[in-house]
């Protein structure tokens, strides 16, 4: 059932369309992440939900009721910001109590709730500390406790971990996952770190130029990208220039610059014969064989670089027409004598792993 309904919202600043006709339905208790490059409109969308910006068009409904007419402080939404926004003159406990105090709750309830929230974020012993005496990670946990203290139905988080180092980030990601499970709160989360998005969310909305380019589970975005942008942004991809020779529905035949022909590749977007396109294959879906030994479709290429990075090998190969292709293989499947610079190899892949994106 739809809980938060974002329909066709847009926001223009002057003549910049920061958000352009975005629609999204979110179920109660869901964890949805906005992922996308800088300036793609993630924060702006979030701020319209929070009420900091008034949309140029569209509607936002929470629990079936439009919230656009309400000011931020009446929306009863929780929010954690990118920068540390604890009130510097208040102790940790008073920070968490703040939303309850402005709601004129009783002292007893405030005391109980503050304790509960500090326990939730595992900062029980820190009630009397001042924000300046906390580490960045602790500050963001207090901010989380403060945002959840008044049991908001919806929690917004705008890159809350981007100021933290990697290890701390992963630690708090675990905490956020746990708190999400424990409280059942609906979360809208903004990040431009795809690993963070993949590890946290039920669904990801990938933003580009103010639009949602694709919405779906992380695995769908990775395995079935609908546009070249999605394929490029989520995970790593190789794109080989090619020309379509024949297309039929969602399948096409192509010719590569060296004259090699491949047929029956799944196609995204309409294309006519003669159109230029990009052939996308993930580096981890490519395999390498000595020349002439593979049954699958393939390309001849020369090994130009090999890097051993622990669990995997990273190869770079050059095709006959000068394009370079990245390949990642588990180190366990690479025999050392195969790694010879300048060796001619065949690159091949399963037909279902390749996709064509029209230019």
């Amino acid at each position: 059932m739809t809980f938060l309904e974002i329909s066709n919202i847009s926001k223009t600043f002057g003549n910049v369309a920061a958000v352009n006709d975005v629609s999204l339905d979110i179920a109660q208790g869901e964890f949805v992440t906005f992922l996308g490059p800088s300036g793609s409109g993630k924060s702006t969308t979030l701020y319209m939900i929070a009420g900091f910006f008034e949309p140029s068009g569209g509607d936002v409904r929470l629990g079936g009721r439009s919230i656009l007419a309400e000011p931020s402080n009446k929306r009863n939404i929780g929010m954690v910001f990118q920068r540390y926004t604890l009130f510097p003159h208040l102790s940790v406990a008073e920070n968490v109590a703040f939303p309850l105090r402005v709601r004129r709750r009783s002292a007893a309830e405030i005391g109980r709730k503050v304790e509960e929230m500090l326990a939730l974020v595992r900062l029980e012993g820190f009630a009397d500390r001042m924000p300046a005496q906390l580490s960045g990670g602790q500050q963001q946990r207090v901010a989380l406790a403060r945002a959840l203290a008044y049991d908001p139905p919806l929690l917004l988080m705008d890159e809350p971990l981007s100021a933290l180092d990697k290890k701390l980030r992963e630690e708090i990601q675990d905490e956020i996952r746990r708190i999400h499970r424990q409280t059942g709160v609906t979360i809208l989360y903004v990040t431009h770190d795809q690993e963070e998005a993949l590890s946290l969310s039920d669904r990801i909305a990938l933003f580009n130029h103010g639009r949602i380019e694709q919405l779906g589970k992380g695995r769908e975005l990775y395995e079935a990208p609908r546009t070249r942008f999605v394929a490029d942004f989520v995970g790593h991809s190789n794109f080989l220039d090619c020309t379509i020779t024949r297309s039929e529905g969602e399948s096409a035949d192509i010719v590569l610059p060296d004259g090699g022909m491949l047929s029956g590749i799944s196609l995204h977007g309409a294309a006519v014969a003669g159109a230029r396109a990009g052939l996308m294959i993930r580096p981890d879906r490519l395999r390498l064989s000595p020349l002439g030994q593979a049954a699958e479709p393939g390309i001849d290429a020369v090994l130009s670089d090999a890097t051993f990075i622990g669990e995997t090998y990273h190869f770079v190969l050059a095709t006959g027409w000068g394009a370079s292709v990245n390949v990642r293989m588990p180190a366990s499947r690479v025999r050392p004598d195969e790694v010879t610079m300048g060796a001619h190899m065949q690159l091949h892949w399963e037909a279902t792993d390749a996709r064509l994106f029209c230019h």
Binding site: P71, N76, L86, P99, V102, Y150
Partner: protein, 266 residues
């Protein structure tokens, strides 16, 4: 080398000598006043032939000195309150407003500070003549407010600019109304700016003399005016006593400011 005191070589002696001389140049006149205020010589002999509290007694026995002291204090207190309140509002407008000419306005607000005060004094004297404000409490307050406002606006604007506005926004998301968020979160966040605005505004009015000389009437004189007119007649040691009290006040305010700065750092 040149920025390492230990390795400055012979230059170090030069620096030390000049620093000591300048330190003495700056400090000795102040110590001299303090000494003279307790010295028994009417003719300001130094070192004083004996010590006395006579000048302080004369000072406190003179109702005119007391009156001018109170006048100055009252004017400075009212100016301080007005300057901080108006300066706070203006600073919000200048740092957060979105209107054309904001920078021009900021420059305009600061010009009274950089223009020669004698020009303002003469101009206000003429202007207040028509409005019959010369020699009135209101006249003094208005004139000193113009002098104090730039200090207030600078101190508060700086504090507001340093204050992360997302913190105020966070308070609003938490359910506070915009006004409540400003009162409960933003004002405490910029309190050091408010305090220095108050101290500077107070001193700007308290020490102001040029405008006051033009505006003062025999019935309403600020302390600096009284010192000035006394000085034009003779160098009475009573002035040394007044000056010593003023120096004590300055030192106290400095200590207060230092205390707040230390408080802010911890």
């Amino acid at each position: 080398m040149l920025l390492d005191f230990a390795r400055l070589g012979p230059w170090r002696v030069v620096l030390i000598v000049i620093a000591v001389l300048v330190g003495a140049y700056l400090l000795l006149p102040i110590l001299l006043i303090v000494a003279l205020s307790f010295g028994s010589s009417q003719w300001l002999q130094f070192p004083p032939p004996g010590w006395t509290l006579r000048w302080y007694e004369e000072l406190f026995d003179d109702p005119e000195w007391i009156a001018s002291f109170l006048t100055s204090f009252q004017i400075a207190a009212v100016v301080t309150v007005l300057s901080v309140v108006i300066g706070l509002m203006a600073s919000f407008g200048l740092t957060r407003g979105e209107f054309r000419g904001r920078e021009v306005l900021r420059a305009l607000f600061l010009t009274p500070m950089i223009l020669p005060v004698v020009v303002l004094a003469v101009a206000l004297y003429a202007f207040f003549l028509r409005l019959h404000l010369n020699g009135t409490f209101l006249g003094f307050v208005l004139a000193h407010l113009v002098i104090a406002l730039p200090f207030s606006i600078i101190a508060i604007s700086n504090a507001l600019e340093r204050f992360d506005r997302d913190i105020e926004t966070a308070a609003i998301v938490c359910g506070a109304s915009p006004l409540e968020a400003k009162i409960r979160v933003t004002l405490p966040g910029i309190r050091l700016g408010l305090i220095s605005a108050a101290i500077f505004s107070f001193l700007a009015s308290w020490d102001e003399v040029v405008i006051a000389i033009f505006m003062a009437s025999p019935d309403l004189q600020t302390l600096p005016v009284r010192i000035y007119s006394t000085l034009r007649q003779d160098l009475s040691p009573v002035i040394a006593a007044v000056s010593t009290l003023l120096i004590a006040l300055t030192a106290a305010l400095m200590a207060l400011a230092a205390l707040f700065r230390k408080d802010a750092r911890s």
